[in-house]
Amino acid sequence: MALILLPLVFGIIAWFVPGNISRIFGLIASTVTLAWSIIAVSYFEPSEHLLVDFGLRFVRFSIDSLGFTMVLLTNSVFFLVFLSNFNTSIVHEKRFTALALLMQFGLLGLFTTNTILGFYIFWELTLLPIFLILYWFGAFDKPRALLQFFLYTLVGSLAMLLSIIGLMHLTNQQTYDALLAADIQSFGNTSIFLMGGFLLAFAVKIPLFPFHTWQAETYTKAPTAGTMLLSAIMLKMALFGLLKWVLPIFDGNATDFWRWPVITLGLVGIIYGAVIAIRQQNLKTLFAYASLSHLGLIAAALMLQNEHTNLISVVQIVNHSIVSIGLFLAAGIIEERLGTQQLDQLGGIAKVAPRFGFWFAVLTFVSLSVPFTAGFIGEFFLIKALFSAHTFTGILASTTLVLGAVYMLKAYQVPMFGPTKINSFQDLHWSELAVFAILSIAAIYLGLAPQCITDFVAHSLTQPTH
């Protein structure tokens, strides 16, 4: 219970903390939550469910090993976000600390809720803090881009709300297990529509190809911490929803109906994002499109509903969080110190700031999913799954390797290599260094021993469903 409520409590306290110690408070709060979840996981029997009930009608919690993985991921991400921004101005604002912690609460709720309406509530609950963070601390010159982000997510989530209402009406159930047990297939085409509603929400959030246009602009204009939160953990909500809720519940004709459309969109996204990223001049925009490319792969692979692929996709989800924190941190560091992210204004930073150059390179290679990193395991098995499903999809999906090299290396070497164009560049602060180190170690550890996640998650993903 404290696992879920802790961030809420901290988030409320954070409003009353004076601004000058808010960054320390944020760091402590996130450390405590992380530590708490680590302790909790050590007592957690992965094959069991941890039930938490506050006596609410529509919101109940049940934590399984997948949920726990996501909880750990969430807490780690928030810890890293606070740590990595320790030296930036944003954490001096108690508003940020408080909102971030509230958002953490929303995410934890989402990952642990056991009711479908609870899923929706937490889904939207996360939107509120991130919206305020983006608005207050972002560089949105026009409200348009920010509103576009909201429009898209809202359209998606309202479609999901309709689907949830329909689902609850049809099955007369609301908990996860009961919904799993319900015979959705007997509703025929209705179930296809219902799943479509969910998929629309997820497609916006992941994002899948034609629904991604909010992403690049939002990422670019958002404060670094906000971008990290968005891409490292918020997008994962959709994948989690797909993995845990939608695919198992709608197993059957609805999934069969949507499988190839979604895979197609995912594939289009993979190539589309990568191709666009090649020519981007803004670092964050480039990473945003890269993210589109990477997540399209996970989404497409998830639709295959292959047991092993599902397990591996969790690894890939974690990996993507690692990568996006790292890359956006790098972009943020550049932006913060030089005030620009335009590639043509940058050059030769590695010379001035060798430590930064080194760690950025490591993260670049992690995102290129070279072997020894979690990304490799992830991409290898996901593409393999797509390849087994259809040769052509596999071949198309594997182009991400080549195109990824094209844009990632550009993103790395244009600012870091070449003649030095900048005057001074303060090398990494210890907090940033720590984040980079943690991320790299995690990526390499998972690259060599992905089994630690897959075994744990397998308890909740390989249970016989119907």
């Binding site: 590695a350 010379k351 290679f365 072997p371 290396l409 070497q413 030095t420």
Partner: protein, 642 residues
């Protein structure tokens, strides 16, 4: 020491060097950094020799499981057999020499520790590549060396004159390699789909048990493997990165882009021989691709003026030669050439490195000349290298090339004729290079001439050792003409414990043909040497300026315009496509579409608010209108229902 421990130690040593130099290198004195890296690789070499001496049969060393699902198991495990140990010997042996060389060559470089860090990482990756007992671990190494290659090519990323050029060359290499990697990846998927394992031995066993596998599946698998090989081993169509990769420091060119990494494709093919044997069509493709590569690369090398570029095209050409051998199914022959090529090409590159070092980073042979007196050791060793690669009799290159020619003559006369042409060109450009560099008058100006100096011991020692190896390397696999007992030692060595190779037998020509072949080859090589001597050393012919070139010379100097063609056919359309979808589709159509929708709503807001006129009469009118609508709705509904 137990073999598995030896092996793990062998792997761990370069990794240790990488870690130590990476973490503390900046604070350690250069000498310690360099000797640590070199020493570790050399120790690894010693361990490799111990493995070599104690080698019998194939042994698997299992480390841990990477993925362990019920049906699917992927292990981090290693395989000790003749092939892997031999490759290990080359890598660590040549590697330690080049490390030694680098200690001198890089001594003035700021990134000294970084260089050795990367170099050790490369050695580690390369060892993974060759030692892995399955394709997965192989892939680890495969991509790892690609990554190191990138880092090392773009090592001098901060160069003020060349700007981003170095790192762009690195990126080109990485991307081209990645294309090949995709091939390997697809092959892996197909293998997993077909055999549900990636272990060499298990796949081999499955192949042997089930002979019905011949056919489509095998063709696609091997084709994908070959695509991977073309990427890494710089074959047509993915060869253009290798000449550009010369942007890296010269020891890197020697180690990665001549001796070891680029031969990974050959290694892969040899390792997968049992698969290739089932796919004759792929072998044919391989043969002709190799043939074309060797010919065109040799042609392109003819009029290059950058000392390293000549060597780079030469490498491409030699690699093509190896693929020709592989195309004939002569795996050991190819590997033999890999070995000798490693010796003499490393020698040549290091020699050129020594020249460049002595010339203070000048690489253009038009500015050299007469270096023989200024740099005697370099000159002498370089000459040996040149002779070895040109096929001057009794040097290592002579034997290895001769084997390939023999295969060609036996299988396909056309191929043989083309090969002769290529080999002749090889001799021509090599001697052109040699004479222009070391003979004639110094063309670099007096100021530079006074500064030119012979390199130090750490650089010349590797040169000498490699020269020795280049001379005697041929002894490893003597043709069975005279010393029958010592002949074909290498073939036997490889076949006896490498899976699949024992079943493959090379053709051996009869005595007369062999002698004839050898004599012909010797005549060609020596003839070219004499011609070159007369032309360049005596007549003093010089390399022409670019503007003066015409006809075939221009084509050669411009590398057949392949880069330009690639740029026009692939790069430009991709960029244009990227711009198109990035700016037109994404921004203008999709995003502005959303904005247009929003604007439409905004605009309609302008209309709807006009409805609220402010006049009470109109409000009352609309209320009555609403009432009328209600009643009309009723009347309509009634008439529809009845």
């Amino acid at each position: 020491m137990a073999k598995d421990l030896t092996l793990l130690l062998l792997l761990a040593l370069p990794l240790l060097g990488f870690a130590v130099n990476g973490l503390f290198g900046k604070r350690l004195p250069k000498i310690i950094v360099g000797s640590l890296a070199t020493g570790l690789v050399f120790t690894a070499f010693l361990l490799a020799t111990s493995l070599f001496s104690g080698l019998h049969g194939t042994q698997i060393v299992h480390l841990f499981n990477i993925i362990d699902f019920d049906q699917l198991q992927i292990n981090a495990s290693f395989q000790i057999d003749a092939l892997s140990v031999w490759m290990t010997l080359i890598i660590t042996g040549i590697g330690s020499l080049i490390h030694l060389f680098s200690m001198g060559y890089m001594s003035h470089d700021e990134g000294y520790h970084k260089f050795f860090t990367y170099l050790n990482l490369f050695i580690f990756s390369m060892l993974l590549l060759v030692l892995g007992s399955n394709y997965f671990v192989l892939f680890f190494g495969w991509e790892g060396v690609g990554m190191c290659s990138y880092l090392l090519i773009s090592f001098h990323y901060n160069d003020a004159q060349k700007g981003l050029a170095n790192s762009l060359a690195g990126r080109k290499a990485f991307i081209m390699n990645r294309i090949g990697d995709v091939g390997l990846l697809l092959a892996l998927f197909m293998l997993l789909g077909q055999f549900n394992t990636l272990e060499f031995l298990k796949i081999g066993a499955a192949v042997q048990q089930n002979t019905a596998l011949q056919g489509g599946a095998m063709f696609f698998i091997t084709l994908s493997l070959f695509i991977a090989a073309t990427g890494k081993s710089a074959q047509i169509p993915l060869f253009t990165w290798l000449p550009d990769a010369m942007a890296g420091p010269t020891p890197v060119s020697a180690l990665i882009h001549a001796a070891t990494m680029v031969t990974a494709g050959i290694y892969l093919t040899v390792r997968s021989n049992f698969l290739f044997e089932l796919a004759p069509f792929t072998k044919d493709i391989m043969l002709y691709v190799g043939l074309a590569t060797t010919l065109f690369a040799a042609f392109m090398a003819l009029r290059q003026n950058d000392i390293k570029k000549v060597l780079a095209y030469s490498t491409v050409s030699q690699l093509g030669l190896m693929f020709v051998a592989l195309g004939f199914g002569a795996y050991t022959v190819a590997l033999f050439h890999v070995t000798t090529h490693a010796f003499f090409k490393a020698l040549l590159f290091l020699g050129s490195g020594s020249v460049i070092h002595g010339m203070h980073e000048e690489q253009d042979i038009r500015k050299m000349g007469g270096l023989a007196k200024l740099m005697p050791v370099t000159h002498f060793t370089f000459l040996i290298g040149t002779m070895a690669i040109s096929g001057i009799p009794l040097l290592s290159g002579f034997f290895s090339k001769d084997e390939i020619m023999a295969q060609a003559l036996h299988h396909n006369t056309f191929v043989y004729v083309v090969l002769v042409l290529a080999v002749t060109m090889t001799a021509i450009y090599m001697f052109r290079l040699y004479f222009l560099t070391f003979h004639g008058a110094f063309r670099g100006g007096e100021a530079l001439k006074s500064k030119v100096h012979e390199s130090g011991l750490s650089m010349t020692l590797p040169l000498i050792l490699l020269a020795v190896l280049s001379i005697f390397g041929g002894l490893l696999n003597l043709p069975g003409l005279f010393f029958k007992g010592a002949a074909h030692w290498f073939d036997h060595y490889l076949s006896h414990s490498t899976f699949g190779l024992s079943e493959v037998h090379n053709v051996h020509l009869d005595f007369n043909t062999s002698i004839g072949l050898m004599l012909f080859a010797s005549a060609v090589a020596i003839g070219v040497m004499i011609w070159a001597y007369l032309n360049y050393a005596k007549k003093g012919a010089l390399a022409k300026e670019d503007a003066a070139l015409s006809g075939w010379e221009r084509l050669s100097a411009q590398k057949l315009y392949i880069d330009e063609i690639y740029h026009a056919v692939f790069v430009r359309p991709l960029l244009a496509f990227s711009d198109f979808i990035g700016k037109v589709v994404d921004i203008q159509m999709l995003r502005n579409g959303i904005y247009a929708l929003a604007d439409g709503i905004l605009y309609s807001a302008n209309l709807t608010r006009k409805w609220q006129t402010g006049f009470l009469s109109s409000y009352l009118f609309w209320m009555i209108f609403g009432l009328i609508t209600f009643i009309a709705y009723y009347i309509l509904k009634l008439s529809v229902w009845h």
